[in-house]
């Protein structure tokens, strides 16, 4: 299981701030997880599509698609940041 967090617009549109996701053996990196979530269809497909400017972090560090993930990790998806 990995903990998946969503922030800001993604949290609102997907209707949740966090969930536990069981990783199939075929999903080994961030890109794989994202594709698995997109396959849910609907808002997931729309919001997490590769063409959307979604940012991600693995264990609280900014991460790109080929970063490996495994059970126990904390993965977050969010829009480009707008603080400051």
């Amino acid at each position: 299981m990995v903990t998946v967090l969503y922030f800001a617009r993604l949290r609102e549109v997907l209707g949740q701030g966090s969930e536990q996701v069981a990783l199939p053996a075929s999903v080994r990196d961030l890109e794989g997880l994202r594709a698995m979530l997109v396959a849910r269809g609907g808002a997931w497909q729309q919001e997490l599509a590769p063409t959307r400017p979604v940012r991600a972090a693995v264990n609280q560090a900014m991460a790109m698609g080929d970063v490996p993930i495994s059970d126990g990790d904390e993965v977050a998806f969010f829009p480009p940041v707008t603080g400051g």
Partner: protein, 152 residues
């Protein structure tokens, strides 16, 4: 280095005094305060809500300060960023940098702000006349952060 994410307001004099305390070698104190404006991209702003990623936000800012310390000769650096509901004229963010000489303090303070705008996980939602909307990231912020790659 000090990093605080908080809903409470802050006082710049108090923070600078704490940062300077006990170090008579400091010659320069550069600081920046970001403030909520009553307009953004032409729309009147009534209120905004700032969301963050607890844990990662603090780490990201510490990392940014660490990079600044690697590039310039600094004594102390402080970042306070507010979250929750804010209104026009409220203070959002404070960055203070102390050093022996002003060039280092100015450069590090601006670097920290530019990187914070593009790397620290905060998101703003504005409530204007017509409703609420998430603020979109600005390309000019990416450009501001990017230019530090070419420098010193």
């Amino acid at each position: 280095m000090t990093v605080r994410v908080q809903s409470e307001d802050f006082d710049v004099s108090t923070e600078i005094a704490a940062l300077r305390r006990g170090n008579p070698k400091i010659g320069a104190v550069a600081s920046f305060i970001g403030v909520v404006r009553d307009v953004n991209e032409g729309d009147a702003v009534a209120e905004m809500t700032l969301e963050h990623y607890p844990g990662m936000t603090e780490k990201a800012i510490e990392e940014i300060i660490g990079q600044a310390r690697g590039r310039w000769s600094l004594y102390e650096a402080l970042v306070i960023h507010r979250v929750g509901k804010l209104r026009p004229t409220d203070q959002i963010v404070l960055v203070v940098v102390t050093s022996a000489h002003r060039g280092d303090a100015f450069a590090a303070c601006e670097f920290i702000m530019d990187y914070l705008k593009t790397r620290a996980p905060f998101w703003k939602k504005e409530r204007a006349g017509g409703g609420a909307r998430w603020v979109e990231a600005r390309e000019t912020d990416d450009i501001a952060a990017e230019r530090w790659r070419l420098k010193g």
